[in-house]
Symmetry: C2
Subunit: 105 residues, 2 copies
Amino acid sequence: MGITKTEFFSERQNEIAMMAKAMAHPARIAIIEYLLSVDTCICGDIVNKLPLAQPTISQHLKELKNAGIIKGRIEGTAICYCINKAALGTLQKYFEAITNKMTKK
Amino acid sequence: MGITKTEFFSERQNEIAMMAKAMAHPARIAIIEYLLSVDTCICGDIVNKLPLAQPTISQHLKELKNAGIIKGRIEGTAICYCINKAALGTLQKYFEAITNKMTKK
DNA sequence: ACTAATTATCGTAATATTGCAATATAACAA
DNA sequence: TTGTTATATTGCAATATTACGATAATTAGT
């Protein structure tokens, strides 16, 4: 049916799955890595940097923003996207907790 | 087109995206968390534990296995699934590296 | 061989994702 | 206001995902 039964799982599980989903595409990984590499977060540059059309990039940015992974800031005509450190921190802590549980056995 | 342009991205980016995709569903997060909670990795129990039909669970297990997140071992009639520590370790290190990059700014 | 138990596969319906051309919107400059 | 630049939205085609009933495959016990 292509519809996930979110109501059967915990809020936490849905949250992690949602963030993982946002990162479940190489273009979005590339966007994140690019944003990490530039101090001043440029935006239209992503379109030039990646081999995808502007609407496609825009869509990927929207998904990352909806998942809370990146944030957008209007800067005149341009929009300046940057990483949301808190969100990636959540994922980092989650995987750290998993790793800790594994090594304790 | 619903088809990802994997050839335009690095192997590393595709690998991370693929693993993230495997975790991009609450049921699969629940499966991973269940496998972490049990020392002896039972298998049919997952079907009883989660509110999804057996074929659906089987499909999710297959995806996790294809992504290398879990491993399966034939144990008589049953199949015993367990976490692949190496794979989750890769993700953990990836997010750790990202976090490090962020805090250095 | 027959039966039970366990897991996988097939087939299918409903929905989601990916990608882009075309177009719209927004902000600024002249 | 007109033009330019930057980004978003719409609409659509191709493909992928999710879920499950039905069924197959595998192994163990009798």
